[in-house]
Amino acid sequence: MWRFAWRNLLTRPVRTLLALIGLSIPILGVIGLFSLSNGLRDLVGDTLSRIQGIIIVREGAFSPVFSDLKADLEDRIRAIPGVRLVTPELWKLAPSVEGRSPIGQVARTMAGGLLNKNKKDGGSQIQGLLDQPVIVGQDSTKRAGIKSEIFIKALLKGSEGGRYLNPGDIGERRIVISRKVAKDNPHADTGLPRKVGDSLDIGGKDFEIVGLYDTGSMFLDVVIIMDIHAARELLQVGEDTVSTFYVEGTDPSANDELTLAIERELPGMDARSPNEISSNFGTLMNQLDLFLLATVMLALIVGVVGIINTMLMSTTERFAEFGVLRTNGWSRRDVLTLVSAESAYLGFLAGLVGYLLALTFTLIANQFLTSTGLSLTITPENALRGLALSVAMGMLGGIYPAWKASRMVPMAAIRLGSH
């Protein structure tokens, strides 16, 4: 019977193809969104795995960039048992880089996306919205002894990478930038990326590049690191204000407990360990997944309606055929099984096509996303989930036509076919 059902689908190839397209597009959406979600989780997980300490920000601040704390909290934090190292940081969006303001950059990115016909640049336009350079002012003296200095570990090898900031850079306009920032702000005359020894105009002031790094993470490679005093001068932030405190405990495995101790001691502060950030991000991603899934569900409903339509047309055309089957001893359940099998096949095929489309989409997208560190992958679980969803949607779409076909009175069906 399953072979018969399969053949019934192939008998009407155009209609089958249209129904396939209708359902495979939302399945592509489901698998694609899950692969994007997985990619983001992996990227954030990878980024967080490099941080071993705790970041203290103002309660409710979405990011260190939007956090302001009193600088004199430093001593109170240091006094908390279990704290080994405290260092203040100043995080702000770069006012302008090479004369380009953050708002201008967003506008250019969007306009570029609309006007640029060069498809190879498409990826950089997508990521452009996430590319706003961020100034991080660090206190080189107080960072001595830090264990998880992400950017030092990411310095490029050899002379190309230069060096990291040291106490000799205090008050000096010297910066460490990523290879990406160097590439995004090339020399106006030669078009070549910036290198160690070159200068970069930030907020109308020239800063000497002393180091180049590459973390491979789109979230980290936007950071321009400079001395905290130089940053205060550039960003016009007073000595009494910092954005965050970076804290390392004596026992990294007890970070969660230390986090609670800090929040107890400093009401109104939010101490975030990598675990907590990861958990918060996971919650955020789950909510995002649900939202995206709800959006895709609308497309899925349209796909199911397509299946219902196809199967209804098919069963209506085959009214006499079902009558013949019934006269040959087929029960209602047999007819129901036949039509359900056809819609299940449709769903399976749509799932397969959706999976292949998603695979192609991720392969192409990954070509553009290499510099961001974001990689879209379709896990076998997600592929199976998409396929199962597609079969379920196909069968759902086939229920009513199958029921209708099974309820036909054989005599009426035969008579209809005879006239």
Binding site: M1, V324, R326, T327, G329, W330, S331, D334, V409, R415
Partner: protein
């Protein structure tokens, strides 16, 4: 059997079909149509019976009721001792699957199946065995389609399609064969051929054959002829028993 024929004659072991005061009405738009109005008749086992009458007289309705494709509004139908009017849905399915074969005017073959697959259709739900297949091939050979086994309906002539339909009806080795205008869409030469095949196979297998037709050319003196008009049995011409039996053997 609970009911007796209205003429008082008792059904015996040779009776295959017994129809007692059957009425069938159905709704057509806003009005009720009485397709059968108290039909009573008997058909002997292994016999050829023709139901004749003008279009719309109710002859096809009677045939479909004999095949348990529908139920009478009133009356009783017994086939081989079983009351079709009280059969459950699964029993009716089993009856159609095992005991009765149908042949239709418009052949009603399934377009995307080959000749041999069309013959095997009754076995699809339970699975086709090698034995079923051999049986189907044998039947197609008997109806002269040995070289057309893998052809699809569109590759076959009308006569060939009807021969496939005959093989499909007989593959279950039914006790009762019901044919609704089996030559209605065929020319007279092909019609002759179809009747020749039908009669030969019916005689070989001792199947009871009931044919609905408005064309009396194919009726012989040995056949029972039931004439229906306006849903009522006008006449029931029984053949000479000896002649009929001699022919069937």
């Amino acid at each position: 059997m609970s009911s007796l024929p209205s003429d008082g004659s008792k059904p015996d072991a040779t009776t295959m079909i017994e129809v007692v005061e059957v009425r069938k009405s159905f709704r057509s738009g806003d009005r009720m149509v009485e397709a059968l109005r108290g039909v009573t008749c008997q058909i002997q086992r292994g016999r050829c019976a023709f139901v004749v009458g003008p279009s719309g007289s109710g002859k096809s309705t009677l045939l479909y009721l004999l095949g348990a494709l529908d139920r009478p509004t009133e009356g009783a139908i017994h086939v081989d001792g079983r009351d079709l009017t009280t059969m459950s849905e699964p029993q009716a399915n089993a009856y159609r699957k095992n005991d009765v074969g149908f042949i239709f005017q418009s052949f009603n073959l399934i377009a995307n199946l080959t000749a041999v697959e069309n013959v095997l259709v009754p076995f699809f739900p339970t699975g086709v065995t090698a034995e079923h297949r051999a049986q189907a091939v044998g039947l197609l050979e008997q109806v002269g389609l040995k070289h057309r086994l893998e052809h699809r309906p569109r590759q076959l002539s009308g006569g060939e399609q009807q021969r496939v339909a005959i093989a499909r009806a007989l593959v279950k080795e039914p006790k009762l064969l019901l044919a609704d205008e089996p030559t209605g869409e065929l020319d007279s030469r092909t019609g002759d051929e179809i009747y020749r095949i039908l009669r030969r196979l019916q005689a070989q297998r001792q199947t009871t054959l009931v044919v609905v037709t408005h064309d009396r050319r194919f009726i012989t003196a040995n056949d029972q002829v039931l004439e229906i008009q306006d849903g009522q049995l006008l006449s029931d011409n029984q053949p000479q028993p000896d002649a009929s039996l001699a022919r069937s053997h």
